[in-house]
């Protein structure tokens, strides 16, 4: 298990954020280089439209630049902090009336999430930060895991989950809720 790589990245990012708080533009450029492909991927999957994802990404990095100083007081990992900013902005974006009207023009790339043994999880198991949640996810029932992953990675709402999985709304809501409960139990026991 290669634990040193992600930790080195986390340290680098924390330092770049510190420099960005001091308005060091070059450090901020490096921060962008190291993180933008990750965060753009996050935004694009949730928003499903390139123009929106670009706008949100731009907003979020300007926000990160303006609030880099706030990072120091949070105790989270730098990438988690930045990812949360992007995810929240995306989910807020989906609340706009125009955004709701788009329908399902996007063909959800389900990637490997429908499999019982999701592939990308393996790479996560090797990383220190995501290892616990990846291990716990593997212990969920497959429907619970699938609905949680579709919601997380593709920003599907309960209604969209129900449509996508061809199940009643109440059923997928229960999968999500129970899945999260079990996840919490597993994470706190781990």
């Amino acid at each position: 298990m290669n634990r040193s790589a992600p930790d080195a990245l986390a340290l680098t990012l924390a330092e770049l954020l510190g420099q960005s708080a001091l308005k060091n533009q070059r450090a901020f450029g490096d921060l962008y280089q190291l993180t933008s492909a990750k965060l753009y991927g996050v935004a694009l999957r949730i928003l499903r439209r390139q123009d929106w994802a670009e706008e949100v990404l731009q907003e979020c990095y300007v926000n990160i630049w303006n609030h880099a100083g706030d990072y120091a007081v949070t105790k989270s990992a730098p990438l988690t902090w930045m990812t949360s900013i992007v995810r929240n902005r995306c989910l807020d974006w989906l609340r706009r009336p125009q955004a709701e009207a788009t329908g399902v023009e996007y063909d959800i790339a389900v990637e490997a999430w429908q499999d019982d043994a999701p592939g990308p999880m393996e790479s996560l198991l090797a990383a220190s930060e995501g290892a616990a949640v990846a291990r716990c996810l593997q212990q969920l029932e497959s429907k619970q895991r699938q609905s949680i992953m579709l919601a997380f990675f593709h920003g599907l709402s309960h209604t969209e989950l129900a449509r996508h999985m061809q199940q009643p709304l109440g059923t997928v809501k229960t999968w999500v809720r129970r899945g999260l409960e079990r996840l919490k139990g597993c994470l706190s026991g781990a």
Binding site: P6, Q25, F28, G29, Y32, S36, A37, K38, Y40, G41, V42, R45, A53, E54, E55, Q58, E59, V62, N66, T74, K75, S76, A77, L79, T80, T83, S84, R87, L91, D92, L94, R95, R96, E111, P120, M121, S123, L124, A127, E129, G130, A132, V133, A134, L137, I148, M149, A151, F152, F153, G155, S157, L161, V176, R177, L180, E181, L183, K184, L187
Partner: protein, 234 residues
């Protein structure tokens, strides 16, 4: 609301908020609770710390170069007159609930004028309400005006600068200047009949910092410090 006191429910809401399945009004309501509830914020932070690293499992996609170009223009402070459409579109939509609360508050002030039917709560860059603008139906007024209430401890206006308020019309139309504001807590801003006629289209209001005397170009040239969405309350 009593139900928000149940620890199980609070934790479930925090989890679904982080996961992304808490949507629409429920999400907005949750966000407004977060603002005043440190223990709920902790709960969210815990879920973020455990779930969000999952994002690392998804493949990376490099954004087009224009994204960085736009960002570096904006952070270099060279965005003079170049505060793009993106920015206007990016107005936070989280203030609707707060607007209702403040609207009720504003509604209590005695007055001899038509009731205020529209309100825009302008938030600062931290999402905290700074200025509330409200107005009645413009048709009902002979001398059209807006009421401005400063709800935040007023930041200092640097000398040689002025604060200019802008109305954001729908679609891709450029921001329309509403005028400069003063530093009093309660202000009345008279507006031209032409602007009054367009207030029905307003979906957002912003405040930018301009040279004394207002924007030299008729468009916002300085940093936008407050922004808010227009909400119909009556």
């Amino acid at each position: 609301m009593a139900s928000y006191k149940s620890p199980q429910l609070r934790d479930k809401l925090a989890a679904e908020y982080v996961l992304g399945t808490l949507r629409g009004r429920a999400r907005a309501r949750f966000q407004s609770l977060l603002r005043y509830d440190p223990s709920l914020r902790r709960s969210v932070a815990e879920w973020e710390a455990s779930i969000t690293p999952l994002a690392a499992a998804a493949s990376e996609i490099a954004p087009p170069a224009r994204v960085w170009q736009a960002i570096s223009r904006r952070i270099a402070g060279t965005a003079r007159a170049g505060v793009g459409l993106t920015f206007w579109r990016g107005l936070a939509v989280t203030s609707a609930t707060f607007a209702l609360v403040l609207a009720a508050f504003i509604g209590m002030t005695p007055r001899l004028e038509p009731p205020m039917t529209m309100v825009a709560v302008m938030n600062d860059d931290r999402g905290q309400p700074a200025i509330v603008v409200s107005w009645p139906p413009m048709k009902a007024m002979r001398d059209p005006h807006l009421r401005i209430k400063v709800v935040q401890e007023h930041p200092t206006m640097a000398s040689g600068t002025a604060w200019e308020m802008w109305m954001l019309p729908g679609g891709k139309a450029a921001p329309v200047s509403m005028g400069l504001i003063g530093i009093d807590r309660d202000q009345v801003m008279k507006i031209t009949p032409a602007l009054a006629g367009r207030m029905g289209d307003a979906w957002g209001i912003t405040m930018s910092v301009e040279p004394a005397g207002g924007s030299p170009t008729g468009a916002p040239t300085g940093p936008v410090i407050f922004k808010g969405q227009c909400v119909k309350i009556l």
